[in-house]
Assembly symmetry: C2
Homo-oligomer: 188 residues x 2
């Protein structure tokens, strides 16, 4: 029996992303965002939505660039902190004892200790309401060697990304392998 839950955004799983930016003065900032995802294969683009009130929002418009980092479960504490505090008055990276690295490709920093990052050039801005959607073209993706499997591709069981649950606001991990894409459905 289907039950109405009202007008809610209930996409499962939602990712846990850390957006890296520079402010006008060149101070690196990071914030956690779960409103986002892949949005185009060619050119390769990802989207993140931020509230206008955030410090990162102005930074992206100023620098026309951002990075999207994917933290591991091991950094859940630091990742959650990046969503709790504004970078307007705090140096979040120093507080979390993590290191900002300047991208050589776009005008934005990323976190050295996180295993996966995409360096993005801003290509679209859409005002949707409370959130503004920023679409970035991925200029390069970088991964720590420790999360790359034998095939040369990222191994999700080594990456251990966090899952955000929109309705209960919890973090979960990734579970077991289920099936191969473009294969499991061949005998329907």
């Amino acid at each position: 029996m289907m039950k109405s839950l009202g007008a809610k955004t209930l996409i499962y799983p939602a990712p846990v992303l850390v957006v890296g930016t520079y402010d006008k003065a060149g101070k690196p900032n990071v914030m956690t965002a779960s409103w986002g995802g892949i949005c185009c294969s060619q050119p390769p683009c990802v989207a993140v939505s931020l509230r206008k009130a955030t410090y990162s929002h102005a930074n992206i418009l100023e620098r026309e660039a951002f990075t999207v980092g994917v933290p591991s479960e091991t950094h859940v504490k630091e990742t959650d902190y990046f969503g709790l505090v504004t970078g307007r008055n705090a140096d979040k990276l120093a507080a979390a004892k993590l290191t900002a690295v300047k991208s050589t490709l776009v005008d934005a920093p990323y976190i050295k200790e996180f295993p996966l990052v995409m360096e993005c050039k801003l290509v679209h801005v859409t005002e949707l309401g409370l959130h503004t959607q920023f679409v970035g073209e991925v200029i390069d993706a970088k991964a720590d060697e420790s999360i790359i499997g034998n095939s040369g591709a990222i191994d999700i069981k080594k990456l251990k990304p966090l899952v955000f649950t929109p309705d209960t606001q919890d973090y979960y991990g990734i579970g077991r392998y289920v099936a191969k894409v473009f294969s499991a459905g061949k005998d329907v």
Copy 2:
């Protein structure tokens, strides 16, 4: 040591969504999409990106509406099939022995047997390149009672959504509870 992987969209986890539409003649169609996510809280909006070549692309523009369903692991075979075949020449729902239900709120169908659906009115269309991004305002979300926990919210361990891995193209499940959002980082 960070290694360059080239310009790739590597957001983890990516969701596995089933987009429901009607064609001009009123035939229901469904297709699987992993390029998407939540993009605004107020008004509540979700985004899905589809290639222009898909049958669903034209359907969304024609009807200015779509639904976003979240399948459980139990329907991985049917879900994968919906991404393998075009609805131009096939009745995918009949082939998969699943039932289309007409939304009473928007001009689009959803799958009766899937545990979670959002009924969306089209509000933005952005041409990004190979993919077009469709932003839909969620008019209502509906969930099967079987996935609602004691708190009245969706229990992700009952929903059992699929995770898509962009680099290896596999389906995974959801793992263990890790931490509470806006809480785990309080002692940084």
